[in-house]
Subunit: 333 residues, 2 copies
């Protein structure tokens, strides 16, 4: 297996990206690794680490895509970016997977419109996120690629999520839930009601609506949502956590006793932060394109990059792309 990693993905590029690749290379001896980005930067970084026994090919890509670059602009303005070159190599089967912690919108746009493009029959690719819910990985999709969705796109997301949860995560008959503001059927908006009807008519293991408070209760293995709702969910979740911790910090500072309590709780709170930060698995696939594309957070450390590479390895091993291609060509929608 050949996995290509974007050197210019993470916010602290290229160190976490390259260090994570080296770690993954030691853990996955069956795999060949390559890194794409500005050659001199990559070589300078590699020189600082122990690479003995690891064979990594470097592909040069001179243009840098930044986190706040507009996805609609970089597609044409930066044709020599690591994302363009990496995804082109994926299209040409020079590699089996492309992994990047970079600008999500740019990766989505370039993968959909330039290379490797959509799988035949796929209406819209979906961005996934994988959350560890009590040590049980759950696939969320779409978390941001498609702000306005149609029920038939949602149905395809469900099929792709089902394949991924089954093949890459190992769930038999994955439970598919639909994120809504109420558990009862009939709740939600028009999109949710129409999607529910379509899902009921399939052989998928559809378990109905899932409310936000049920997301942490292991009620489903795949949670379906439109890209706007999914993106809002993730952002609200993070904002609420930050708000609560700021309230706690305020209250701890109020008097010497609570300050002492806060000091004694430091390691426990660090664990809470770590559990929260790793609630979301390092990287997750962009489903529906003609190749394995794994996107991770810009804030990823080497650990996150390594995990994203492991997701790529699972996705390639389980023939995700071939399965989606086969399933969706059967769909008469």
């Amino acid at each position: 297996m050949r996995i290509l990693v974007d050197a210019l993905g993470s916010d602290n590029r290229p160190t976490p990206d390259i260090l994570g690749t080296l770690q993954a290379a030691r853990e996955l001896p069956d795999t060949t690794f390559a890194i794409v980005g500005p050659r001199s930067k990559i070589e300078a970084e590699l020189a600082q680490h122990n690479t003995s026994g690891i064979n990594i090919t470097v592909y040069d890509a001179p243009n840098e895509i930044l986190m706040d670059d507009k996805p609609s602009e970089v597609l044409k303005s930066k044709p020599g970016s690591s994302i363009h070159i990496g995804l082109k190599m994926l299209e040409e089967k020079q590699v089996d997977a492309f992994v990047s912690m970079g600008n999500t919108g740019a990766i989505h746009g370039i993968a959909t419109l330039f290379a490797p493009r959509r799988i035949r029959g796929v209406r819209r690719p979906a961005l996934t996120a994988i959350f560890n819910v009590n040590a049980h990985p759950v696939v969320f999709l779409d978390v941001g690629a498609n702000a306005d969705c149609r029920p038939d796109w949602m149905l395809q997301f469900a099929i792709m999520g089902d394949i991924y949860a089954n093949s890459a995560l190992g769930y038999t008959k994955p439970r598919i839930g639909l994120l809504s503001n109420g558990e009862e059927e009939g709740k939600g908006n028009e999109l949710i009601r129409e999607t529910t009807e379509m899902l009921r008519a399939t052989a998928l293991n559809f378990v109905g609506n899932i409310e936000p408070k049920e997301l942490f209760l292991n009620k489903a293995d795949v949670i379906l949502m439109d890209g706007f709702t999914g993106n809002m969910f993730i952002k609200t979740f993070e904002a609420s956590a930050r708000y609560i911790t700021s309230l706690i910090r305020d209250e701890v500072k109020r008097n010497p006793i609570s300050m002492l309590g806060g000091a004694l709780l430091k390691p426990a709170m660090a664990n809470v932060k770590r559990r929260f930060d790793t609630a979301e698995v390092g990287g997750a696939p962009l489903l529906g394109v003609q190749g394995v594309v794994i996107i991770g957070h810009g804030s990823s450390t080497d650990f996150g990059v390594k995990n994203a590479i492991h997701q790529a390895h699972k996705a390639v091993s389980s023939n995700i792309v071939e399965q989606i291609t086969e399933q969706l060509s059967k769909q008469s929608i």
Copy 2:
């Protein structure tokens, strides 16, 4: 001023509802109070409290609407409910405001379809919630009445929210923000982009998109959203807070030192809980109907009921209904 309170609103009915009314009655001597619900229950509860100097009229309503009653069914099946009778009295101007902690969907449905109905020109009434953001009350709407919204309805929500924030909350030129998944213009879904265009063409003080993480930063006085997104936001906010506190509880239990830290932090954590619980003001108006209707949480205590009554008092004093009627009859949309 005459305020009518639903005796059967809160989850612990009728105690918090009646106790809150008695407390408000002592604080608002210019106001006459009435309670609607099953007469015997109300009288039994009143008999347990000191009501000297307070003159409260009781209106009998035999049917009980429960929290899990379907709004679509109770409209016809329970015509003698406290909500039906209370809202009918509001329509007939026997009272100036109706306050209930009851089934939100039922109140919204009965107010819209039975009495006092919509203000002429209002496309859809909007459900509001008022959050204290660093002691600064912010109006959120729509938080659940309309799961599928059109841009012209959103524009009306903005106008109604502006009137309420200005007249009842005292903000000069309230800042109107639009909840979205990204701050930049062009982010969001089609509804958000179309609403943005319409808002830009008004004299409202529109400050652009507000992301979830900015909601706690006092960037706007009115936050606009469709009912599905609003309801999801509130539910995700609550679920995230519960998830974080459960992580903290887990970690505190792990060893004697963190348990001691946890014990020392008990009062601080109780303050955090109190601040979080009171982040949302007790009650908020259903805007766009022909009378002041304040809806509070089912979980309200007597304190929450009292606050909801104060909101009713402010809304009546500031002639919200008359102002919305005047403004929306000017709208050519």
